[in-house]
Symmetry: C2
Subunit: 122 residues, 2 copies
């Protein structure tokens, strides 16, 4: 629940390519969803597993998800500033279909790869 996010959270080479045909929103939303699964996280904390995504793009992603009601943004009046992002009930409900998609991908990734090789051979 409160362990730090691992830097290699999305480092699996099998998933870094385009083998996974199911996407959640834009490029990063699905991964952010996964990052927030175990509780609220800070801006810079999210950057680590997300391959050091640039602040501009992470801000855009978080704003879009906030706008869609997937997460809330809480700025604490401290110095240095601390901002936390946390899934809403709606956002958490999206983990359901995402897990189904992930299970499907894990199960069929070998078949995907094999189909590509067969296609390449002609």
């Amino acid at each position: 629940m409160r362990e730090p996010l691992r830097a290699d959270m999305f480092a699996d080479p099998d998933c870094s390519g385009r083998l996974q045909p199911i996407r959640f929103g834009d490029k990063w939303s699905g991964m952010v969803l996964r990052c927030l699964e175990d509780g609220p996280r800070r801006f810079s904390e999210l950057r680590v597993p997300l391959h050091w995504i640039t602040p501009k793009v992470l801000t855009e992603t978080l704003r879009a998800m906030e706008r869609n009601g997937f997460l809330t943004r809480t700025a604490h009046a401290e110095n240095p500033p601390r901002v936390e992002y946390e899934l809403t009930v709606l956002g958490r409900s999206a983990l359901g279909p995402m897990n189904v998609a992930c299970d499907w991908a894990r199960e069929h990734l070998p078949a995907l790869a094999e189909a590509r090789e067969a296609y390449e051979r002609g």
Copy 2:
């Protein structure tokens, strides 16, 4: 099983926007998957429900899905030519997660829309 595809198959205005945060592959793959659900279809038959997608883009989409092993392309030696696209077992298996995602979207679309309105109001 053999009814023609309806032209307004994807005409629902609620789904034409960006409210649906789950995407299958590129812009058209998910819809093609749905179009082939009930059996093989011809190239020009697919164009109708797909908003008269340009042939170039439909070809690209079909080639990508064929490459990933989602469907097969069968050219019949006739005149005029007839080509049929049909889902493979792998392609059909992707309908599982897609239906889960569609169910989720249908259930939460009102909440999505409401979240947006609330965000817009500030």
